[in-house]
């Protein structure tokens, strides 16, 4: 479970934080904090879907659901088949 959080956190920092910028944490607001805009959310969704072989319906891939690494982990777990 920690690995899931770490993988997503690492991706978010590599994808969205510019060189020299402050790294985000697990609960940093991503969308509401202006770090990830609505255009860029798509690559995050695609990364998660490809990495964990899941499909997140568009109506559940909301800015609220993607607003922090912690919330994204909740979303991934909901759609991951165990």
């Amino acid at each position: 479970m920690d690995e899931l959080k770490d993988v997503i956190l690492k991706y978010v920092n590599a994808e969205y934080v510019e060189e020299g910028g402050d790294p985000v944490g697990f609960d940093t607001p991503l969308i509401s904090g202006g770090i990830v805009d609505s255009f860029s959310m798509v690559s995050l969704k695609r990364f998660i879907e490809n990495k964990y072989k899941i499909s997140i319906p568009d109506d559940q891939a909301t800015p609220e659901a993607f607003d922090s690494v912690d919330k994204i982990v909740v979303l991934v777990r909901r759609f991951t088949k165990t």
């Binding site: 255009f39 860029s40 798509v42 695609r46 490809n50």
Partner: protein, 415 residues
């Protein structure tokens, strides 16, 4: 009544908030044609002041050129004032099509379609040529008009870090399952004055089967040895699939824009682009002026050569004086101040010394990246630049920023 006192008060508070935050923009009224020297009324009601304009997109000094003005008069006399129509109904004159051919020749493309502005071109092009099965991958610093156009399109949307080719490549790999991939960039970025590495982007486009769209609004007319644009600079003439550009900057400064590129994509715009279908055609007076601009540009490169010399002279002067600049080799030279209020105060100090240059701050540029964006023109002579440099140095001393680093300026003023 919907707009009652409560509603009015709410908006007044919002506007006051902008003023308190130093983010309120004010217009200045210019009482002369656009040129290196202009006469300005600021504040409103004050006597006119003659100032040097360092913030126009009048890169080639053609905005008030007598030949362009004469050609516009001829257009009024021979083709009338307005068409009162969109293009496809009864708004297309022979001169509109002539201009489209001239633009195609100049940019090295297959076909061109005119729009009322490049804002309209960018608003319309994506939805006209893409569907929900496609993906748009845009540079994170593209112009606001491209962002708006992207938002209007049903295709998937993604971004890459500014001018980061490795990051772009990772996105192109990720999106190989889409029907079409369209990479979107400015040729010259309007706020930072840097350029997109179009040679590398074309290579990636060929490797990953992606089309390339470049907004050349701050490039057409002067980038590249003969002014064709950023694609000429990077040696990829004929390899950019779609170019959008404006006639409201170097190419005369009036109005109008276009989409230029692969003929099928241009035809898709003609059939489907909403600003083309629903907005008035460019007035004939403007078309004949633009045609004369292309006559001037294709006869000689002296204007773009002079612009290049002016930009180098200006950048050297500011650098030696100790300002923090964004690096680049274009006629857009941002003087970085980082703090919005400082940018506004600095602009006012310049104005008091006879130099007109405006502070840029959030949301026009990212928070903490306020600047004075200076823009050179072929209409500037060395005496203009020397006087403007003196004013910048004087203001730089007044605000104690000469020789300071970004961090030092932020420590003094915050961001």
């Amino acid at each position: 009544m919907a707009y009652n006192d409560t509603t009015r008060t709410m908006y007044q508070q919002t506007l006051q908030g902008l003023k308190d935050a130093g983010l309120f923009k004010q217009e200045r009224y210019i009482h002369s044609p656009q040129a290196a020297d202009i006469e300005v009324e600021f504040p409103t009601g004050s006597a006119l002041k003659k100032v040097i304009n360092m913030c126009a997109n009048n890169y080639l000094g053609l905005s008030s050129h007598p030949d362009v003005v004469k050609a516009a008069h001829e257009g009024l006399d021979t083709r009338g004032y307005g068409m009162s129509s969109v293009r496809f109904i009864c708004g297309t004159q022979d001169i509109h099509r002539e201009l489209e051919h001239r633009v195609s020749d100049f940019l090295g493309t297959e076909d061109t379609i005119l729009f009322p502005s490049c804002m309209d071109a960018n608003a319309g092009v994506f939805e006209a040529i893409l569907t929900k099965d496609d993906v748009m991958i845009s540079d994170r610093l593209v112009h606001a008009s491209l962002i708006d156009g992207i938002r209007l399109c049903s295709a998937m949307q993604d971004t890459y870090k500014h001018a980061d080719m490795a990051h772009l490549e990772s996105k192109l790999e990720m999106h190989q399952d889409r029907r079409h991939r369209l990479v979107i960039t400015d040729g010259v970025f309007s706020m930072d004055g840097d350029t997109a590495p179009l040679d590398k982007m074309v290579e990636l486009g060929e490797k990953y089967n992606a089309m390339i769209l470049v907004d050349e609004s701050h490039a057409s007319g002067f980038m590249g040895k003969t002014g064709r644009g950023t694609h000429e600079k990077y040696g990829v003439l004929g390899k950019i699939d779609v170019i959008t550009t404006t006639f409201g900057k170097a190419l005369g400064g009036a109005t109008g824009g276009c989409v230029s590129g692969r003929k099928e994509l241009v035809e898709m715009c003609r059939q489907k682009a909403r600003p083309y279908l629903f907005s008035n055609t460019i007035a004939p007076v403007v078309v004949t002026g633009i045609l004369r601009v292309f006559d001037i540009l294709t006869a000689s490169t002296e204007r773009r050569d002079k612009l290049e010399r002016n930009a180098a002279y200006w950048r050297k002067g500011l650098t030696e004086a100790g300002f923090v600049l964004k690096e680049g080799d274009t006629p857009i030279v941002p003087v970085m101040l980082f703090n919005a209020k400082l940018a506004q105060d600095f602009s006012r100090a310049l104005y008091d010394d006879g130099v007109y240059a405006v502070g840029f701050f959030f949301p026009v540029v990212p928070q903490g990246q306020a600047r004075i964006r200076t823009q050179l023109s072929a209409g500037h002579e060395i005496h203009h630049l020397d006087k403007a440099l003196d004013a910048f140095v004087k203001a730089g001393k007044k605000f104690n920023i000469l020789g300071k680093t970004k961090q030092e300026i932020i420590e003094i003023y915050g961001n």
